[in-house]
C-alpha cells in the first residue's frame, strides 16, 4: 500500500455526505463491434433470434426503469418511451432484420447500419437543435441493444450489482432516475453545478455527490478506491491511511448522529421551553406517506397534486383524483393533510395543460390563475378534494400563488358552487374544511393582513417568494448568486406574513426548501413559524434542532437578525448561532457550507 499515490481533486459539493468506496466508471461509447458474415440459413435464423431477444431485453430494461422512476421525474419517463418506440420502429427493427437476412451481416453491424440510416435522416433536417436531440434518442436506444448483443450491458446503472461510487462525465436524466440508493455510495460527475439535475436527484435520495469535477472520468479509473466529500467537493483518489481514517471517522460520526436523532424523530416538535410547532412533510405521491411517517412527519404540510395531471393525454377524471385523495386522507388520519390545488406553470409543462404564447411564463397564466381561467379543471379537482374530505375530516385546502383578494373571492365562489352541487346530490363532505392561501408573491405579503381575514391559514412558499421578492430567476446562472434565502428582504417578508397571520388569529406554515434546512431552524422559530413542512428526509435533523432550541432565545435572535443589513451578515450570525447552540450538528455537518461555497477539509477530526 502506497500512501504517496493519493490524489486530491475538487469539484462542487452538490449533495452532502461522505462516500468511501470503489469507483464505478459509467463509460459510454466505444464498444468493439465485430463484423462477420453469416453462413447458412441456420446461422441467419439464429442471428435473427439473437437480435429479437436483444431488443426484447432492451425493451424490458427500459420498462423496468420506467417503473422505478421516482414520481418527481415522471416527465423523463416519456423519453424512455420514445426510446422503446425507436427500438420497435420498422426503420430500425425491420431494417436490422433485413440486413441480417439479405446481407447476412451479424446483428450488431446490422443495428449499426440501420441506426446510421436513421441518423442521416435527422441530419438532413434544418432544425439543428431538434435534430441533435433526436439523434441522441436514436443513439441511446441503439446503444442499449448493441451493448446487450455484445454481452456488455454492465455499464448501465441497473446492472450495478455492488455498492460503488458512480463516476461519469454526466448523468443523463435516464441514468439519474435509475440510481439505486442502496447501491450508489456516491456520485462524481465532470459537468453540472449544485442545481443540476444530478444534484437534485442525489440530494433527494441522500446520496453524497460532487459535480463539476474536470477530467474526473480520466483521472479516476474503474475500481479505484476513492473518497467523496459531498460537502466540500473534495475527492481523494487512492487515499492514504491517514486520509482514510479521517474520512471513515467523519462518515461514522455522521451516520451515528443521524441514527441517533432518527430514534427521536417520532417525538413532537416542541422547543425545550415548551413552544409547540409542527414538523410536516412535503410529498407528491401517496406512497411517500411511509417515508414521511418513518421520518416523524406530524402531518402532510404540502401535497403536490400536479403529478396526477402530468404524463397523460386526457385530464384525470374526478374519480381517480378522488381515490388518490381518499387514500391520502385515510392513511394519514387523524393527522392533517394539506392538499395544494393544481400549481402548474411554465416550469412544469405537461402534455395537456393549456399554455399560451407567453414571453415570461413565470409571470404568466399559471397555478391558481390557470385554475380560475379553466374553471372546469379546477371544479373537478375541488369536487374530488371535497368528497375525500368526508373520509376523516382531516383535509386542508391550499391555494397557490395568491396575489390578491380577487383571487380569493373567485376561488371561494367556485368552492361554494362545488359545495352546493355536492349538497344537492347529498354527497357528504367536510363543511369545515380549512381554506388556506400560499404566500409566495410580494403583493400577497403586502396585503397579508387583509388576506388573513379571508382564509383559515397561510403557508409561505419560500422557493417562489425568494425569486419574486428579489426579482431573479434562480436557474439563470448570471443572477443565481442573488438567490439568497437569508436576504434581509426575504426574512422581512416572512416576518410580515407571519405577524399578519397571527394578528388575525390564523396559523402560518412554511413549506419551501428553507423549512428543511437545519441551519434556518432558529431564525424560522424566532420568526414564529407555526409549522415547518419539508422533504421527509430532512425531518429528523430539523425536528432534533427544534426540540433542542429555546423559543425565547430564538425570538431574541430573530429580533437581532431582522435588523441586519446584508445576507452575508445574517448568514454569519446564523452560522455562529447554530455553531454555538448545536456544536454536534456543526461538527457533523459543517454549517459554514451554505449553497455552493466550498471549504477546506477540516484539519482535525476533533472529538
Amino acid at each position: 500500500m502506497n500512501d504517496h499515490s493519493s490524489l486530491t481533486i475538487r469539484g462542487i459539493g452538490a449533495a452532502p455526505g461522505i462516500a468511501i468506496g470503489k469507483a464505478f466508471l459509467l463509460e459510454r461509447g466505444r464498444i468493439p463491434v465485430p463484423r462477420y458474415r453469416l453462413f447458412g440459413e441456420q446461422a441467419v435464423a439464429e442471428e435473427c433470434k439473437r437480435f429479437e431477444k436483444a431488443v426484447a431485453e432492451a425493451e424490458a430494461d427500459l420498462e423496468a426503469i420506467k417503473k422505478s422512476i421516482k414520481t418527481e421525474f415522471r416527465e423523463h419517463a416519456r423519453l424512455l418511451e420514445v426510446q422503446q418506440m425507436i427500438l420497435r420502429d420498422p426503420s430500425i427493427y425491420d431494417e436490422s432484420l433485413r440486413y441480417i437476412k439479405e446481407e447476412r451481416t451479424n446483428a450488431q453491424l446490422a443495428v449499426i447500419k440501420s441506426l446510421r440510416k436513421a441518423k442521416e435522416l435527422f441530419n438532413s433536417l434544418s432544425n439543428d437543435e431538434y435534430a441533435k436531440s433526436r439523434i441522441a434518442d436514436v443513439n441511446a436506444a441503439g446503444d442499449r441493444v448493441i451493448r446487450i448483443l455484445a454481452g456488455q450491458n454492465h455499464t448501465n446503472l441497473e446492472h450495478l450489482h455492488e455498492r460503488a461510487v458512480i463516476v461519469a462525465h454526466d448523468l443523463s436524466p435516464a441514468d439519474a432516475i435509475q440510481l439505486q440508493a442502496g447501491r450508489t455510495l456516491g456520485i462524481v460527475t465532470e459537468i453540472g453545478g449544485s442545481v443540476s439535475h444530478t444534484s437534485i436527484v442525489a440530494r433527494s435520495l441522500g446520496i453524497p455527490a460532487v459535480t463539476g469535477v474536470e477530467n474526473a472520468a480520466r483521472l479516476i479509473s474503474n475500481n479505484d478506491f476513492i473518497i467523496v466529500d459531498g460537502r466540500t467537493g473534495i475527492i481523494i483518489i487512492n487515499p492514504g491511511e491517514s486520509e482514510l481514517r479521517f474520512y471513515t471517522n467523519r462518515q461514522d460520526e455522521i451516520s451515528a448522529y443521524l441514527k441517533q436523532i432518527s430514534r427521536h424523530a417520532h417525538l413532537p416538535a416542541q422547543t425545550s421551553d415548551g413552544h409547540r410547532v409542527s414538523a410536516e412533510a412535503n410529498i407528491e405521491a401517496v406512497e411517500e406517506i411511509v417515508a414521511a411517517k418513518d421520518n416523524g412527519a406530524e402531518a402532510i404540510g404540502l401535497y403536490r397534486t400536479e403529478f396526477f395531471f402530468m404524463n397523460r393525454v386526457e385530464l384525470p377524471d374526478e374519480e381517480s383524483l378522488y381515490r388518490d385523495y381518499h387514500d391520502l386522507a385515510e392513511l394519514m388520519a387523524p393527522s392533517q393533510v394539506t392538499i395544494r390545488t393544481l400549481d402548474l406553470g411554465a416550469e412544469k409543462l405537461t402534455s395537456w395543460c393549456p399554455t399560451l404564447e407567453e414571453a415570461n411564463p413565470a409571470l404568466g397564466l399559471r397555478s391558481i390563475r390557470l385554475c380560475l381561467h379553466y374553471k372546469e379543471i379546477f371544479k373537478t379537482q375541488l369536487r374530488a378534494i371535497l368528497r375525500a374530505s368526508a373520509v376523516a375530516r382531516n383535509i386542508r385546502l391550499m391555494l397557490p400563488l395568491i396575489s390578491g383578494m380577487e383571487e380569493i373571492y373567485q376561488a371561494r365562489r367556485i368552492f361554494k358552487e362545488v359545495q352546493a352541487e355536492l349538497s344537492a346530490k347529498r354527497i357528504p363532505f367536510d363543511e369545515d374544511m380549512p381554506f388556506g392561501a400560499m404566500i409566495e408573491v410580494p403583493s400577497a405579503v403586502a396585503m397579508a393582513d387583509l388576506l388573513a381575514q379571508e382564509v383559515d391559514f397561510f403557508s409561505i412558499g419560500t422557493n417562489d417568494l425568494i425569486q419574486y421578492a428579489i426579482g431573479i430567476d434562480r436557474s439563470n446562472e448570471h443572477v443565481a448568486y442573488l438567490y439568497e434565502a437569508l436576504h434581509p428582504g426575504v426574512l422581512r417578508f416572512i416576518k410580515q406574513a407571519v405577524d399578519a397571520g397571527h394578528e388575525a388569529g390564523i396559523p402560518v406554515a412554511l413549506c419551501g426548501e428553507m423549512a428543511g434546512e437545519p441551519l434556518y431552524v432558529p431564525i424560522l422559530l424566532g420568526l414564529k413559524i407555526d409549522s415547518f413542512s419539508m422533504n421527509p428526509v430532512a425531518l429528523p435533523r430539523v425536528k432534533n434542532l427544534i426540540r433542542r432550541s429555546s423559543m425565547k432565545e430564538c425570538c431574541r435572535f430573530a429580533n437581532q437578525v431582522i435588523h441586519m443589513r446584508t445576507a452575508s451578515e445574517i448568514e454569519q450570525a446564523v452560522s455562529k448561532m447554530v455553531m454555538r447552540k448545536f456544536p454536534e450538528e456543526f461538527h457533523v455537518f459543517d454549517p459554514n457550507w451554505t449553497g455552493n461555497s466550498t471549504l477546506a477539509v477540516p484539519n482535525k477530526s476533533g472529538s
Binding site: I86, P90, E95, W352, T355
Partner: protein
C-alpha cells in the same frame, strides 16, 4: 402489426399511395395547432394511435410522406406550429384510424 417493408429513402419520396378496390383510402388535411409542433412526445402519441389500426397510415407534408407507424419517420417530418399535413389511411379500418388521428390533431395533442 402491419409492417412497411420499404426503406427510408424510398419512403421519403413516396407520394400518397394509390387506392385500390378492397381497402378504402381516405385522406384528411390537418393544421398542426399546438405551439410546439410535432415534437418527440407528440410523435410518440401519433405512432401509438396509428399502431392500433391495421390500415397503412401516412402523414404527408409538402412533398414528403412518412409512415405514421414509425416514430423515426414521424419525428423526421419536422412539423412546426401551423404546418399543413395530409393524413392518409388505407385499409379495412381506414375510417376509424383517421377519426382517431383527427381527434389527436383537433385536441392539439393535449397541448396548446
Amino acid at each position: 402489426m402491419l409492417i412497411d417493408p420499404r426503406t427510408f429513402a424510398n419512403r421519403r419520396e413516396t407520394a400518397l399511395i394509390q387506392s385500390d378496390e378492397e381497402s378504402p383510402e381516405l385522406t384528411q388535411e390537418f393544421i398542426v395547432a399546438n405551439r410546439l409542433g410535432i415534437h418527440a412526445r407528440v410523435a410518440a402519441q401519433i405512432v401509438k394511435v396509428a399502431c392500433r389500426f391495421e390500415s397503412e397510415i401516412f402523414i404527408a407534408k409538402s412533398e414528403a410522406a412518412v409512415n405514421a407507424k414509425s416514430i423515426l419517420d414521424v419525428m423526421s417530418l419536422l412539423c412546426p406550429y401551423g404546418s399543413k399535413v395530409f393524413v392518409t389511411a388505407r385499409g379495412p379500418d381506414a375510417a376509424q384510424a383517421l377519426n382517431a388521428l383527427a381527434a389527436l390533431f383537433q385536441t392539439k395533442f393535449g397541448e396548446s
